[in-house]
Symmetry: C2
Subunit: 522 residues, 2 copies
Amino acid sequence: MVVSKRDFLIRIGQVAGAGVLYSVMQGLGHFHVAQGATQTPVIPKGQSGNKSVLILGGGIAGLSAAYELMQAGYDCRLLEASDIVGGRCRTLRRGDAVFESGADAQICKFDKGLYMNAGPARIPSAHQAVLGYCRTFGIDLEVFINNNRSALFQDDRINDGHPVESRQVHHDTAGLISELLAKAIDGHLLDEELGDIHIDRLFAFLGRFGELDYYGTYAGGGRSGYESLPGAFEKRGRLRRPLELKDLLSSDFWRWKMYFEEEFFQQATMFQPVGGMDAIVRAFADRLGDRIETRAAVTEIHNTENGVQATFNADGSEGKVVNADFCICTLPLKVLAGVTTNLSAQHKEAVRSVAYMPVVKIGYQANRRFWEEDDAIYGGISYINHPITQIWYPCSGYHSGKGIMVGAYAFHGDAVRLSAMTPKKRYETAKTAGSKLHPQIGSEVGRPISVAWHNMPLAKGAWAVWRRDQRGNEYRTLSKPDRNMYFAGEHMSWLPGWQEGAVLSAHEVVSSIHERAQTSKG
Amino acid sequence: MVVSKRDFLIRIGQVAGAGVLYSVMQGLGHFHVAQGATQTPVIPKGQSGNKSVLILGGGIAGLSAAYELMQAGYDCRLLEASDIVGGRCRTLRRGDAVFESGADAQICKFDKGLYMNAGPARIPSAHQAVLGYCRTFGIDLEVFINNNRSALFQDDRINDGHPVESRQVHHDTAGLISELLAKAIDGHLLDEELGDIHIDRLFAFLGRFGELDYYGTYAGGGRSGYESLPGAFEKRGRLRRPLELKDLLSSDFWRWKMYFEEEFFQQATMFQPVGGMDAIVRAFADRLGDRIETRAAVTEIHNTENGVQATFNADGSEGKVVNADFCICTLPLKVLAGVTTNLSAQHKEAVRSVAYMPVVKIGYQANRRFWEEDDAIYGGISYINHPITQIWYPCSGYHSGKGIMVGAYAFHGDAVRLSAMTPKKRYETAKTAGSKLHPQIGSEVGRPISVAWHNMPLAKGAWAVWRRDQRGNEYRTLSKPDRNMYFAGEHMSWLPGWQEGAVLSAHEVVSSIHERAQTSKG
């Protein structure tokens, strides 16, 4: 029998525990975090003991919980208030409607075949639970681009307000700080700090790190890009002049925008499902079938002596009641706060305590891919010092005629400011600001749609924002079930806003319920 | 009439020249190099004046030259010595043969549908001439990944020889040098150098650049990755301990491997044609039809009084003769050196003077994508301090069963060393070395094939390597035609080894010939 290395490692872990497993992995040269897209069910099949589980909320947490329970043979039922499942995992296409509280309804008018992922839009390599489902369900993936060195940064305080290419922002910065450090080293200012580090080697290293010249000076380099590109025959190309460190420091590039693509969960390789993120939602929904009840808005949820009881309004009839042994509540906490419950005072207080991130995304359609045709920008993100914050270029259909740009993706106060505008005004604002990055936006885009997640009645925010002090208190409270009620969702993870956090929390809750069901079965 | 910005700029350039164009672009906020994938023919149609052009060599330079001449109505004929066109742009699939001088013939045994690009494998965003053809010909593109933060670096001198993730190499380096510079700044060692740069702002900036703590210390950070990943509930995740600067400096990572992905033409976004790079070759060949003659090896080429005359061996018959008004010779210079010519002594000397890069690529098939399944590595490149130099993971078919790995891509002396081995021995060497990155390589790969480009009789090297002093002499000599013979190919550009260099050189030569034909017509 051939045992794959993966199976071998899993067995060691099962038999001997994580400590031994880690030693073995070290022995095998696996200091790096090695793990593949799991296709193993979270709980084994056919050990459900006829227990019933009610799942509230049809987002990624609810769907993955229901799917795993169904696989194991549990009697499960999922109630979703909206007329579609997916929750914040929403892909907008022609005809889709967005209903924000306090804003006119918007209907998506994109051409057929075009879409915008209004919620989650990327899957990092490390999100192996989500990727595991993509693999199991056969969902085609394509690369999502965070890092495009041809994308632009704009801030009025640098380059006379003209956009700067990402490559120049990154590499002029690296060059200029290498030059400073090279000067300190060359002047023997850091000899004591360096200890047994060889100065010549460090100097040579800085030369490569920062493209410094023989004297340790940064005078621009190929990584930062060209004023005229190298070509054939006598066209040697001409390097750009570097930006000034002072100007780079004056810009807002370095506060977070430069490094966003290098945050752990934003690092390449990133993916998106071909055709829209909701391919994952559809795959779950197809398998769950009539276990899902949409347009079923829960108004009350109670722990009873032996289980839970929920009251909900289904299409046309109010006050329907459902009982189950357990409940997994995946409602966003701000939504749950509006439901009548008999949760403990501590749980109620925890639910009420959490802040949610205000987020606005604005999409519009371009009938010509001017960013590709005029500027050789293929996918990725440009940044601007304006409430719209960023512009996304589509990471599919390269060289095809039309495309959807994300014309704003704003957080915090910027999102609040944009969401206070009418959808029409948001669009005008996004066009005016975006024109600083691409003048073509002024005349070549249309068919806008926007979503302010904090104004969506079934979300009330984009993701939970736990303060550090809350993690040891309110977060911990909700990590434990209240009698027969369990909490899951991205808010119950260290991955705020990520589908992976929702899935992993669902898996943990499903495992806990199963363990309890097994114990109480006999 | 609506004039696109692109057309507007082109017209300004035509009417007022590049200087004015540049000023206008500045005014429009286009300090960055703005240019789209051109679909404009290099020379206008129907002005050919019945001139004939003979093209030697069916690589990308010859094909694009012939295509542009054909479009304009020239009588053109392309002679290619091999039985297929494409030159070094070669995609190996099941049944394809590789014939190196001095090595046994190899037949590709990959499963049907799998391939390896033995020559060029990536197209950067900036290569707008090649991308322009992809657009014109409707060739589907997918993202090629140079930068994958989950890919690995291995050198026996660091981390006890265990591989280190790219993310840790990059961000521990950034953290450790930021810490050093922060110390120098905090100790007021650089006050004079800093001039009017605000120290607090620079300190804050270094904190972001290097993920430093409040005291300016680097103690690891999320960008460098985790020992255990953040998850749900109580799984907060645990950061890795940083590498030591001393060890990083001892490794060979920083000499070029770390920065390779940031060299101008390697920066994201990069592309590959879906299904293999030779999609471009096929598109040209389909359009050129019987203007291409394969198995036609040129033995002599002469300038005559009014044109050129070539002698070649066609399938079965020797010494066939063809005459034309002009010749575009795209043969690699080391191959041209073996052809009898009446080139000027200076041209002959220039042809003989050029060195070519020795390159070896080794591919093999894995029947399970263990790099994805076990290690969550999707596409990209891992590096190793061994002659095999690097391992490439396929950038397509993610989560599909099988895949082709590039198990070695070596240059310079490393390539010479590998090519001196039999193909079988190369493979064994690649397996042994590759196992340091992925132990699975030892047992889970097979069906190898390798190409040593310097031993391929119709290439004699991967690309021309001009010494800096040659650019003003031999290179310049070949930039001018010798009477009716013109030279094109990647060797006649500042983009050595790139298809873009081949195409741009072809475009320049085609323009020169056209200009001359126009002048001499009357």
